[in-house]
Symmetry: C2
Subunit: 195 residues, 2 copies
DNA sequence: GCAAAAGTGTTCCATCTACACCCATGA
DNA sequence: TCATGGGTGTAGATGGAACACTTTTGC
Protein backbone atom coordinates (compact mmCIF):
# COMPACT_ATOMS: atom_id res chain seq x y z
CA UNK A 1 0.00 0.00 0.00
CA UNK A 2 1.47 3.35 -0.96
CA UNK A 3 1.03 6.32 1.30
CA UNK A 4 0.87 9.66 -0.37
CA UNK A 5 0.99 13.06 1.18
CA UNK A 6 -0.75 15.99 -0.49
CA UNK A 7 -0.41 19.56 0.65
CA UNK A 8 -2.81 22.43 0.07
CA UNK A 9 -0.98 25.71 0.47
CA UNK A 10 -3.26 28.69 0.96
CA UNK A 11 -2.48 32.37 0.85
CA UNK A 12 -4.29 35.65 0.49
CA UNK A 13 -2.74 37.53 -2.39
CA UNK A 14 -4.07 40.77 -3.83
CA UNK A 15 -7.46 40.32 -2.20
CA UNK A 16 -7.86 36.77 -3.50
CA UNK A 17 -7.65 33.45 -1.75
CA UNK A 18 -5.12 31.46 -3.72
CA UNK A 19 -3.72 27.96 -3.73
CA UNK A 20 -0.46 26.54 -4.91
CA UNK A 21 -0.74 24.22 -7.92
CA UNK A 22 1.77 22.74 -10.32
CA UNK A 23 0.26 21.54 -13.56
CA UNK A 24 -3.11 21.70 -11.87
CA UNK A 25 -2.09 19.40 -9.06
CA UNK A 26 -1.42 19.82 -5.41
CA UNK A 27 2.17 19.13 -4.44
CA UNK A 28 2.48 15.56 -3.26
CA UNK A 29 5.06 13.00 -2.28
CA UNK A 30 5.21 9.43 -1.10
CA UNK A 31 5.73 8.96 2.60
CA UNK A 32 8.63 6.64 3.11
CA UNK A 33 8.88 3.99 5.73
CA UNK A 34 10.97 5.95 8.13
CA UNK A 35 9.05 9.22 7.74
CA UNK A 36 6.00 10.55 9.49
CA UNK A 37 3.25 12.46 7.69
CA UNK A 38 4.12 15.56 9.74
CA UNK A 39 7.70 15.44 8.59
CA UNK A 40 6.69 14.77 4.99
CA UNK A 41 4.36 17.76 5.11
CA UNK A 42 7.16 20.01 6.31
CA UNK A 43 9.52 18.63 3.68
CA UNK A 44 7.09 19.23 0.91
CA UNK A 45 6.42 22.77 2.09
CA UNK A 46 10.09 23.54 2.01
CA UNK A 47 10.67 21.85 -1.30
CA UNK A 48 7.73 23.16 -3.31
CA UNK A 49 6.35 26.22 -1.69
CA UNK A 50 9.69 27.76 -0.82
CA UNK A 51 7.99 30.31 1.34
CA UNK A 52 7.76 28.70 4.69
CA UNK A 53 7.85 31.46 7.23
CA UNK A 54 8.82 30.29 10.68
CA UNK A 55 5.27 30.53 11.92
CA UNK A 56 3.37 29.22 8.94
CA UNK A 57 0.39 27.32 10.19
CA UNK A 58 0.45 23.67 9.17
CA UNK A 59 -2.36 21.28 10.02
CA UNK A 60 -3.51 17.85 8.99
CA UNK A 61 -6.73 17.90 7.01
CA UNK A 62 -8.05 14.42 6.38
CA UNK A 63 -6.96 11.02 5.20
CA UNK A 64 -8.54 9.92 1.96
CA UNK A 65 -8.16 6.65 0.19
CA UNK A 66 -8.35 5.30 -3.29
CA UNK A 67 -7.72 1.69 -4.28
CA UNK A 68 -4.29 0.60 -3.11
CA UNK A 69 -3.46 4.09 -1.92
CA UNK A 70 -3.84 6.17 1.23
CA UNK A 71 -3.67 9.92 0.84
CA UNK A 72 -2.91 11.93 3.93
CA UNK A 73 -3.64 15.61 3.35
CA UNK A 74 -2.35 18.71 5.09
CA UNK A 75 -2.84 22.39 4.55
CA UNK A 76 -0.49 25.25 5.24
CA UNK A 77 -1.13 28.97 5.52
CA UNK A 78 1.48 31.12 3.85
CA UNK A 79 1.78 34.89 4.26
CA UNK A 80 1.93 36.48 0.83
CA UNK A 81 4.93 38.70 1.65
CA UNK A 82 7.04 35.57 2.10
CA UNK A 83 6.36 34.20 -1.36
CA UNK A 84 9.28 34.40 -3.73
CA UNK A 85 8.20 36.39 -6.81
CA UNK A 86 9.54 33.65 -9.07
CA UNK A 87 7.01 31.28 -7.50
CA UNK A 88 4.04 33.56 -7.85
CA UNK A 89 2.93 31.96 -11.12
CA UNK A 90 2.04 28.77 -9.24
CA UNK A 91 -0.57 30.49 -7.13
CA UNK A 92 -4.11 30.32 -8.49
CA UNK A 93 -7.24 32.04 -7.36
CA UNK A 94 -9.71 29.49 -6.07
CA UNK A 95 -12.43 30.97 -8.23
CA UNK A 96 -10.60 29.77 -11.30
CA UNK A 97 -10.30 26.24 -10.06
CA UNK A 98 -11.15 23.78 -12.77
CA UNK A 99 -14.43 21.97 -12.14
CA UNK A 100 -12.88 18.62 -12.78
CA UNK A 101 -9.61 19.10 -10.99
CA UNK A 102 -8.71 15.79 -9.36
CA UNK A 103 -7.78 17.47 -6.12
CA UNK A 104 -10.88 19.60 -5.99
CA UNK A 105 -12.38 17.73 -3.07
CA UNK A 106 -9.27 18.19 -0.98
CA UNK A 107 -9.02 21.86 -1.83
CA UNK A 108 -12.64 22.50 -0.98
CA UNK A 109 -12.15 20.76 2.29
CA UNK A 110 -9.06 22.85 3.06
CA UNK A 111 -10.92 26.08 2.38
CA UNK A 112 -13.80 25.01 4.54
CA UNK A 113 -11.41 24.15 7.34
CA UNK A 114 -9.69 27.50 7.00
CA UNK A 115 -13.04 29.28 7.30
CA UNK A 116 -13.79 27.42 10.49
CA UNK A 117 -10.35 28.09 11.85
CA UNK A 118 -10.34 31.83 11.38
CA UNK A 119 -13.69 32.07 13.12
CA UNK A 120 -12.57 30.55 16.36
CA UNK A 121 -8.78 30.84 16.46
CA UNK A 122 -6.11 33.43 15.84
CA UNK A 123 -4.50 31.58 12.91
CA UNK A 124 -4.81 34.57 10.59
CA UNK A 125 -1.53 35.68 12.09
CA UNK A 126 0.05 33.20 9.72
CA UNK A 127 -1.29 35.01 6.68
CA UNK A 128 0.06 38.40 7.67
CA UNK A 129 3.45 39.95 8.31
CA UNK A 130 4.34 40.53 11.93
CA UNK A 131 3.08 44.10 11.79
CA UNK A 132 -0.09 45.20 10.06
CA UNK A 133 -2.96 47.63 10.18
CA UNK A 134 -6.51 46.79 11.16
CA UNK A 135 -7.64 47.39 7.59
CA UNK A 136 -5.15 44.83 6.35
CA UNK A 137 -6.38 42.37 8.94
CA UNK A 138 -9.97 43.01 8.01
CA UNK A 139 -9.18 42.44 4.36
CA UNK A 140 -7.82 38.98 5.14
CA UNK A 141 -11.01 38.09 6.97
CA UNK A 142 -13.15 39.39 4.16
CA UNK A 143 -11.30 37.39 1.55
CA UNK A 144 -11.44 34.18 3.54
CA UNK A 145 -15.05 34.49 4.61
CA UNK A 146 -16.12 35.74 1.20
CA UNK A 147 -18.15 38.67 2.46
CA UNK A 148 -17.50 42.22 3.47
CA UNK A 149 -17.47 43.21 7.09
CA UNK A 150 -18.50 46.40 8.81
CA UNK A 151 -15.40 48.35 9.74
CA UNK A 152 -16.62 49.59 13.11
CA UNK A 153 -17.99 46.26 14.22
CA UNK A 154 -14.87 44.50 13.08
CA UNK A 155 -12.55 46.80 15.02
CA UNK A 156 -14.68 46.65 18.13
CA UNK A 157 -14.74 42.88 18.02
CA UNK A 158 -11.13 42.22 17.22
CA UNK A 159 -9.81 44.72 19.75
CA UNK A 160 -12.11 43.42 22.48
CA UNK A 161 -10.54 39.98 22.11
CA UNK A 162 -7.31 41.34 23.48
CA UNK A 163 -5.16 39.36 21.07
CA UNK A 164 -3.61 42.40 19.41
CA UNK A 165 -1.02 44.84 20.64
CA UNK A 166 -0.79 48.44 19.43
CA UNK A 167 2.82 49.06 18.54
CA UNK A 168 2.45 52.85 18.60
CA UNK A 169 3.92 52.99 15.11
CA UNK A 170 1.99 54.29 12.15
CA UNK A 171 1.90 53.24 8.57
CA UNK A 172 1.29 55.93 6.00
CA UNK A 173 0.46 54.70 2.57
CA UNK A 174 -0.46 57.27 0.01
CA UNK A 175 -2.48 60.38 0.55
CA UNK A 176 -4.48 59.41 3.59
CA UNK A 177 -4.47 59.41 7.32
CA UNK A 178 -1.76 57.09 8.65
CA UNK A 179 -2.95 53.87 10.28
CA UNK A 180 -1.99 52.48 13.64
CA UNK A 181 0.20 49.43 13.36
CA UNK A 182 -0.70 46.37 15.37
CA UNK A 183 0.85 42.99 15.99
CA UNK A 184 -0.44 39.77 17.52
CA UNK A 185 0.46 39.29 21.16
CA UNK A 186 0.94 35.61 20.39
CA UNK A 187 1.95 34.12 17.12
CA UNK A 188 0.96 30.66 18.26
CA UNK A 189 -2.42 29.05 17.52
CA UNK A 190 -4.93 29.63 20.27
CA UNK A 191 -8.70 29.55 20.54
CA UNK A 192 -10.58 32.83 20.31
CA UNK A 193 -14.12 33.30 19.18
CA UNK A 194 -13.78 35.86 16.43
CA UNK A 195 -17.16 35.50 14.72
CA UNK B 1 4.97 0.72 6.44
CA UNK B 2 2.06 -0.79 8.33
CA UNK B 3 -1.22 1.02 8.45
CA UNK B 4 -3.27 0.49 11.53
CA UNK B 5 -6.85 1.49 12.16
CA UNK B 6 -8.02 2.30 15.66
CA UNK B 7 -11.63 2.87 16.59
CA UNK B 8 -12.97 4.81 19.56
CA UNK B 9 -16.52 3.71 20.26
CA UNK B 10 -18.47 6.12 22.43
CA UNK B 11 -21.78 5.66 24.15
CA UNK B 12 -23.79 7.25 26.93
CA UNK B 13 -24.68 4.52 29.39
CA UNK B 14 -26.33 5.13 32.73
CA UNK B 15 -25.50 8.80 32.71
CA UNK B 16 -21.86 8.22 31.94
CA UNK B 17 -19.85 8.73 28.79
CA UNK B 18 -18.21 5.40 28.12
CA UNK B 19 -15.72 3.97 25.68
CA UNK B 20 -15.13 0.48 24.43
CA UNK B 21 -11.81 -1.06 25.52
CA UNK B 22 -10.42 -4.57 25.44
CA UNK B 23 -7.53 -5.10 27.83
CA UNK B 24 -7.23 -1.35 28.07
CA UNK B 25 -6.83 -0.88 24.34
CA UNK B 26 -8.95 0.53 21.60
CA UNK B 27 -10.00 -2.03 19.04
CA UNK B 28 -7.60 -1.96 16.13
CA UNK B 29 -6.71 -3.80 12.95
CA UNK B 30 -4.26 -3.56 10.13
CA UNK B 31 -5.59 -2.07 6.93
CA UNK B 32 -4.83 -4.40 4.09
CA UNK B 33 -3.78 -3.41 0.65
CA UNK B 34 -7.17 -3.73 -0.96
CA UNK B 35 -9.10 -2.10 1.89
CA UNK B 36 -9.92 1.50 2.61
CA UNK B 37 -9.85 3.00 6.09
CA UNK B 38 -13.60 3.58 5.88
CA UNK B 39 -14.23 -0.05 5.17
CA UNK B 40 -11.83 -1.16 7.89
CA UNK B 41 -13.59 1.09 10.36
CA UNK B 42 -16.94 -0.46 9.51
CA UNK B 43 -15.48 -3.96 9.71
CA UNK B 44 -14.00 -3.34 13.09
CA UNK B 45 -17.25 -1.89 14.39
CA UNK B 46 -19.09 -4.95 13.31
CA UNK B 47 -16.49 -7.34 14.63
CA UNK B 48 -15.77 -5.81 18.03
CA UNK B 49 -18.55 -3.57 19.06
CA UNK B 50 -21.34 -5.84 17.84
CA UNK B 51 -23.81 -3.04 18.27
CA UNK B 52 -23.81 -1.16 15.08
CA UNK B 53 -27.23 0.29 14.66
CA UNK B 54 -28.01 1.23 11.10
CA UNK B 55 -27.53 4.89 11.79
CA UNK B 56 -24.53 4.83 14.07
CA UNK B 57 -22.44 7.85 13.38
CA UNK B 58 -18.95 7.00 12.16
CA UNK B 59 -16.34 9.62 11.43
CA UNK B 60 -12.64 9.81 10.84
CA UNK B 61 -10.75 11.48 13.65
CA UNK B 62 -7.11 11.96 12.82
CA UNK B 63 -4.10 10.17 11.41
CA UNK B 64 -1.30 9.70 13.88
CA UNK B 65 2.06 8.19 13.30
CA UNK B 66 4.73 6.39 15.22
CA UNK B 67 7.97 5.08 13.75
CA UNK B 68 7.24 2.73 10.88
CA UNK B 69 3.52 2.92 11.50
CA UNK B 70 0.59 5.06 10.44
CA UNK B 71 -2.48 5.00 12.67
CA UNK B 72 -5.73 6.16 11.14
CA UNK B 73 -8.32 6.73 13.83
CA UNK B 74 -12.11 6.81 13.69
CA UNK B 75 -14.82 7.23 16.25
CA UNK B 76 -18.31 5.81 16.29
CA UNK B 77 -21.34 6.77 18.34
CA UNK B 78 -23.32 3.84 19.62
CA UNK B 79 -26.78 4.08 21.21
CA UNK B 80 -26.72 2.24 24.52
CA UNK B 81 -29.94 0.32 23.83
CA UNK B 82 -28.23 -1.45 20.97
CA UNK B 83 -25.38 -2.82 23.05
CA UNK B 84 -25.54 -6.52 23.69
CA UNK B 85 -25.55 -7.11 27.48
CA UNK B 86 -22.75 -9.64 27.10
CA UNK B 87 -20.57 -6.85 25.73
CA UNK B 88 -21.33 -4.39 28.47
CA UNK B 89 -18.24 -5.30 30.44
CA UNK B 90 -16.05 -3.77 27.75
CA UNK B 91 -17.49 -0.33 28.21
CA UNK B 92 -15.59 1.93 30.60
CA UNK B 93 -16.43 5.30 31.98
CA UNK B 94 -13.99 7.88 30.71
CA UNK B 95 -13.41 9.13 34.23
CA UNK B 96 -11.73 5.87 35.07
CA UNK B 97 -9.37 6.02 32.14
CA UNK B 98 -5.88 5.12 33.19
CA UNK B 99 -3.51 8.10 33.13
CA UNK B 100 -0.94 6.19 31.16
CA UNK B 101 -3.20 4.42 28.73
CA UNK B 102 -1.41 4.28 25.39
CA UNK B 103 -4.52 5.34 23.52
CA UNK B 104 -5.31 8.19 25.87
CA UNK B 105 -4.46 10.88 23.34
CA UNK B 106 -6.77 9.38 20.75
CA UNK B 107 -9.59 9.01 23.24
CA UNK B 108 -9.28 12.57 24.46
CA UNK B 109 -9.34 13.75 20.91
CA UNK B 110 -12.47 11.71 20.19
CA UNK B 111 -14.26 13.15 23.19
CA UNK B 112 -13.30 16.66 22.24
CA UNK B 113 -14.56 16.05 18.72
CA UNK B 114 -17.83 14.68 20.05
CA UNK B 115 -18.34 17.79 22.18
CA UNK B 116 -17.84 19.98 19.15
CA UNK B 117 -20.14 17.84 17.06
CA UNK B 118 -23.10 17.87 19.41
CA UNK B 119 -22.91 21.63 19.65
CA UNK B 120 -23.35 22.27 15.99
CA UNK B 121 -24.93 19.19 14.48
CA UNK B 122 -27.75 16.81 15.21
CA UNK B 123 -25.52 13.76 15.70
CA UNK B 124 -26.94 13.00 19.14
CA UNK B 125 -29.61 11.10 17.26
CA UNK B 126 -27.07 8.33 17.01
CA UNK B 127 -26.86 7.97 20.78
CA UNK B 128 -30.60 7.60 21.29
CA UNK B 129 -33.32 5.21 20.23
CA UNK B 130 -35.62 6.41 17.49
CA UNK B 131 -38.13 7.67 20.03
CA UNK B 132 -37.26 9.48 23.22
CA UNK B 133 -38.40 12.15 25.63
CA UNK B 134 -36.90 15.59 25.96
CA UNK B 135 -35.51 14.67 29.38
CA UNK B 136 -33.67 11.75 27.86
CA UNK B 137 -32.27 13.99 25.17
CA UNK B 138 -31.22 16.58 27.71
CA UNK B 139 -29.46 13.93 29.75
CA UNK B 140 -27.33 12.94 26.77
CA UNK B 141 -26.28 16.53 26.27
CA UNK B 142 -25.47 16.94 29.94
CA UNK B 143 -23.31 13.85 30.00
CA UNK B 144 -21.41 14.80 26.88
CA UNK B 145 -20.89 18.43 27.78
CA UNK B 146 -20.16 17.61 31.39
CA UNK B 147 -22.46 20.21 32.88
CA UNK B 148 -26.10 20.43 33.77
CA UNK B 149 -28.48 22.41 31.65
CA UNK B 150 -31.56 24.39 32.55
CA UNK B 151 -34.63 22.39 31.60
CA UNK B 152 -36.68 25.30 30.31
CA UNK B 153 -33.89 26.86 28.30
CA UNK B 154 -32.96 23.50 26.86
CA UNK B 155 -36.48 22.75 25.69
CA UNK B 156 -36.95 26.19 24.25
CA UNK B 157 -33.71 25.93 22.32
CA UNK B 158 -34.04 22.40 21.03
CA UNK B 159 -37.65 22.84 19.96
CA UNK B 160 -36.93 26.13 18.24
CA UNK B 161 -34.41 24.39 16.01
CA UNK B 162 -37.22 22.48 14.35
CA UNK B 163 -35.27 19.25 14.17
CA UNK B 164 -37.66 17.26 16.35
CA UNK B 165 -41.10 15.91 15.65
CA UNK B 166 -43.67 15.35 18.38
CA UNK B 167 -45.05 11.85 17.84
CA UNK B 168 -48.13 12.48 19.96
CA UNK B 169 -47.29 9.37 21.96
CA UNK B 170 -46.50 9.48 25.65
CA UNK B 171 -44.08 7.57 27.75
CA UNK B 172 -45.12 6.89 31.31
CA UNK B 173 -42.32 5.74 33.51
CA UNK B 174 -43.16 5.26 37.16
CA UNK B 175 -45.35 7.48 39.28
CA UNK B 176 -45.12 10.71 37.36
CA UNK B 177 -46.68 12.69 34.63
CA UNK B 178 -46.15 10.94 31.28
CA UNK B 179 -43.70 12.60 28.90
CA UNK B 180 -44.26 13.52 25.29
CA UNK B 181 -42.32 11.30 22.93
CA UNK B 182 -40.27 12.92 20.20
CA UNK B 183 -38.22 11.72 17.30
CA UNK B 184 -35.71 13.38 14.99
CA UNK B 185 -37.14 14.53 11.68
CA UNK B 186 -33.87 13.45 10.07
CA UNK B 187 -31.59 10.71 11.26
CA UNK B 188 -28.83 11.92 9.00
CA UNK B 189 -26.05 14.24 10.08
CA UNK B 190 -26.80 17.87 9.45
CA UNK B 191 -25.59 21.18 10.76
CA UNK B 192 -27.61 22.87 13.48
CA UNK B 193 -26.34 25.30 16.05
CA UNK B 194 -27.43 23.74 19.30
CA UNK B 195 -25.26 25.61 21.80
C1' DG C 1 -8.73 72.21 -0.98
C1' DC C 2 -9.52 67.68 -2.36
C1' DA C 3 -9.06 62.83 -2.63
C1' DA C 4 -8.11 58.81 0.14
C1' DA C 5 -8.17 55.83 3.88
C1' DA C 6 -8.45 55.86 9.20
C1' DG C 7 -10.92 56.24 13.03
C1' DT C 8 -15.04 56.51 16.06
C1' DG C 9 -20.64 55.55 19.06
C1' DT C 10 -25.28 54.59 19.39
C1' DT C 11 -29.55 52.27 18.76
C1' DC C 12 -32.07 48.22 17.95
C1' DC C 13 -32.92 43.55 18.02
C1' DA C 14 -32.16 38.71 18.95
C1' DT C 15 -30.49 35.49 21.92
C1' DC C 16 -28.86 33.63 26.40
C1' DT C 17 -29.41 33.32 31.36
C1' DA C 18 -31.49 32.79 35.61
C1' DC C 19 -35.18 31.43 38.02
C1' DA C 20 -40.09 28.78 40.61
C1' DC C 21 -44.30 26.82 40.31
C1' DC C 22 -48.22 23.79 38.69
C1' DC C 23 -49.52 19.25 36.34
C1' DA C 24 -50.44 14.37 35.58
C1' DT C 25 -49.76 10.07 37.06
C1' DG C 26 -48.85 5.51 40.06
C1' DA C 27 -48.67 3.76 44.37
C1' DT D 1 -52.38 12.22 49.40
C1' DC D 2 -47.86 12.11 48.30
C1' DA D 3 -43.84 11.32 45.71
C1' DT D 4 -42.07 11.58 41.09
C1' DG D 5 -40.72 13.56 36.99
C1' DG D 6 -43.04 16.62 33.09
C1' DG D 7 -44.13 20.87 31.57
C1' DT D 8 -44.31 26.08 31.29
C1' DG D 9 -43.01 32.07 31.03
C1' DT D 10 -40.69 36.31 32.10
C1' DA D 11 -37.29 39.82 33.04
C1' DG D 12 -32.65 41.30 32.66
C1' DA D 13 -28.17 41.06 30.48
C1' DT D 14 -25.39 40.40 26.66
C1' DG D 15 -23.76 40.41 22.12
C1' DG D 16 -24.38 41.22 17.07
C1' DA D 17 -26.01 44.21 13.23
C1' DA D 18 -26.91 48.40 11.08
C1' DC D 19 -25.55 52.79 10.18
C1' DA D 20 -22.62 58.25 8.80
C1' DC D 21 -19.53 61.53 9.80
C1' DT D 22 -14.94 63.56 11.25
C1' DT D 23 -9.82 63.21 11.04
C1' DT D 24 -5.33 63.12 9.08
C1' DT D 25 -2.48 63.02 5.59
C1' DG D 26 -0.23 63.59 0.40
C1' DC D 27 -0.65 65.93 -3.56
Amino acid sequence: MTILLKLTALSVIEKKLKIFLKAGNLPSMAIRDHDSPDKAAKDISRKYIKAVAKDSYLEQLYTFSSPGKIIVTYYILVPSFSINPSQMRYWFSIERLNKNNKDRQIIKYAIQRLRWKVEYTNVVYSLLPKKFTLSELQEIYEVILGRSLDKRNFRKKILSLGILKDTGEKKTKGPARPAEIYEFKMRKPCMVEVF
